[in-house]
Symmetry: C2
Subunit: 261 residues, 2 copies
C-alpha cells in the first residue's frame, strides 16, 4: 500500500455543495486519491446521529472535478458507514477520513453536537486515522484561504505518523484575520457550555413555536485549551476519543455506593 | 432544598408514549416530584443531535397520571434544554435528570449513537446529576418489571451521594430472564463496534434506496465492561464524561509532530 497514493475519504455536515468541502477536496487532491461521500443537505447539529428505521438514498454526483463523489440522504456518520460498507465494499479501504471544512466552530463542548466530528469519529472507530476540520466563521461564503496550508500540513503529518489508537483529531481554525496564523497547538477541549434561549413565536394559525438560540459561555482560564488557541490566532488540534468512560469515576462509585454486591 | 422532595426531570428517545418512559415515570413518582419533557415521536439513533435552523414545537400532554408533562418536536437533547431554559425558566431547576427507559441496548459503542444518553449528558453539562436507563430488549412491549427496583435504588443512590463532576451514568439492564438479576456492577465501556450492511432495494419508481443494518461485534475479553455485565445478568453502570479529550494523546502528538511551533 505504501507505494500507492493514499486513498482519502472526504465527508462533512454542511452538505456536498458547501464551500468548505470544496476547499477540503482541492487540498486533499494534492495528497492522494479522493473519494467524497457527503450529505445531500445540511446536517449541522446532528451530533453522532445515524439513520435508524428509515431508508437511505445514495446518488453519484459530478460536481468535483476529477473526483468520484456521492451524495447521501443520511447523516455524516451514515456517509462514512455507507462509503466503507457499500461504496468501498470488498475494495481498498480509506487510508484516512477527513471531514469538513465546517462553516462554524466545533471547539469545546460543541464537539458533542458536531456532525463534522461524528464523521471523523466513525473513521477512528474503524481504526482509520481521521480528522475533522472546522473554521470558526459561520458565513456561507467564509474565507477559507488561510486554512489550506495547515489543512495539508496536518493531514500529511497524520498520513506519515498515524494517530494513537481510538483517537480522531478535532481541528479548528480561527476566522481569517489581518495577521497570519501564529501556528498549530495541541489542545484540550475547553471547559465551556452553551446557554440556550428559546424565542417564543406564533405561526399564522396561532400555534406556538420556538427558535432555539444559544450563547456560548467560556469558564476556562487555561492557555492549553482550544478556545484560548482560537482567540490567540492559533490552529487548535484536540485529540478526541470515543471511549466515553470516566475511568477515574469507577473507583469512586465502587467506594461510595452501598447497593453493589 | 433538602427539605423538599427532589424535582426529577424525565426524558427519553423512544417518544413520550413508549412503555419505557411510563415505567420510568411510575418509578420516579416514588422518589419525588416529576416533570416530563420528551420527544413527540421516536428519536432513536439521534446521538447528541440538536435542532439547528429549524423551529421547535412544545405542547402540554396529559397522559401521565398526576404528572406535568410536555411533548417536544425536537431531539432528546432539545427536550432537556427547553425544559431547563423555557419550562423551568426562573424556576427551581431539576435535582436530577433521568432518561429512558430505552427500548434497546446502549452498552459499549452504542452510547455514541444514543439519544437516551444525550439527554443525560445534557444534564451533566449543566452540573445536574443525570442517568440514562436502557433495557437490552428492543421489543415495543418489552418486560420492564425487573428494572423497577434497581432503577429506584440507583436513582436514590445518586440523589443521596451525587456524582463526580462532568459525569453522567449509562445504566443498562439485561433482558428479563428466568433467573433474578445478579446485582449491579460499575463498568467501563466495552471495546466493541457495529459492522454495517447496506441492503440495496428499488422503490416502485425504480429508484434505488438502502436499509442500514448493523451486526454488533465485541472484541472485549475483559470482565470489567458493560457487555460482560449484561451477558452475565448484572445491571451495568458506566460513568460517562463529555470531555472527549484524549488527554494521554496530547504529549504523544507534541513529541511526534514536526509542524508545531
Amino acid at each position: 500500500m505504501k507505494d500507492k497514493r493514499p486513498l482519502i475519504l472526504v465527508s462533512n455536515d454542511d452538505g456536498i455543495t458547501s464551500k468548505g468541502i470544496f476547499t477540503l477536496v482541492e487540498a486533499m487532491k494534492t495528497l492522494g486519491e479522493v473519494l467524497v461521500v457527503a450529505p445531500d443537505s445540511p446536517q449541522s447539529g446532528m451530533g453522532h446521529a445515524i439513520t435508524v428505521g428509515e431508508t437511505l438514498r445514495l446518488e453519484e454526483n459530478h460536481i468535483f472535478d476529477g473526483v468520484k463523489a456521492y451524495q447521501c440522504s443520511g447523516t455524516p456518520a451514515d456517509c462514512v458507514k455507507i462509503a466503507r460498507h457499500f461504496v468501498l465494499k470488498d475494495k481498498r479501504q480509506p487510508d484516512i477520513v477527513v471531514s469538513g471544512i465546517n462553516h462554524g466552530s466545533n471547539t469545546s463542548i460543541s464537539v458533542l453536537y458536531s456532525g463534522t466530528m461524528s464523521a471523523a469519529i466513525e473513521g477512528a472507530i474503524e481504526g482509520t486515522p481521521a480528522i475533522g476540520f472546522s473554521l470558526c466563521d459561520y458565513a456561507h461564503d467564509a474565507d477559507f484561504s488561510h486554512t489550506i496550508e495547515p489543512v495539508i500540513a496536518i493531514t500529511k503529518q497524520v498520513l506519515e505518523k498515524g494517530l494513537p489508537k481510538g483517537v480522531a483529531l478535532n481541528v479548528n481554525f480561527p476566522p481569517k484575520r489581518n495577521e497570519p496564523l501564529k501556528g498549530i497547538r495541541i489542545c484540550r477541549q475547553a471547559n465551556a457550555k452553551w446557554v440556550e434561549e428559546f424565542d417564543e413565536r406564533y405561526d399564522p394559525n396561532g400555534r406556538r413555536y420556538f427558535w432555539m438560540a444559544g450563547n456560548f459561555v467560556n469558564f476556562d482560564k487555561g492557555e492549553d485549551n482550544d478556545e484560548w488557541a482560537i482567540a490567540n490566532n492559533y490552529v487548535s488540534v484536540v485529540p478526541c476519543q470515543f471511549d466515553l468512560t470516566a475511568h477515574s469515576a469507577i473507583p469512586i462509585l465502587n467506594e461510595d455506593w452501598d447497593i453493589l454486591r
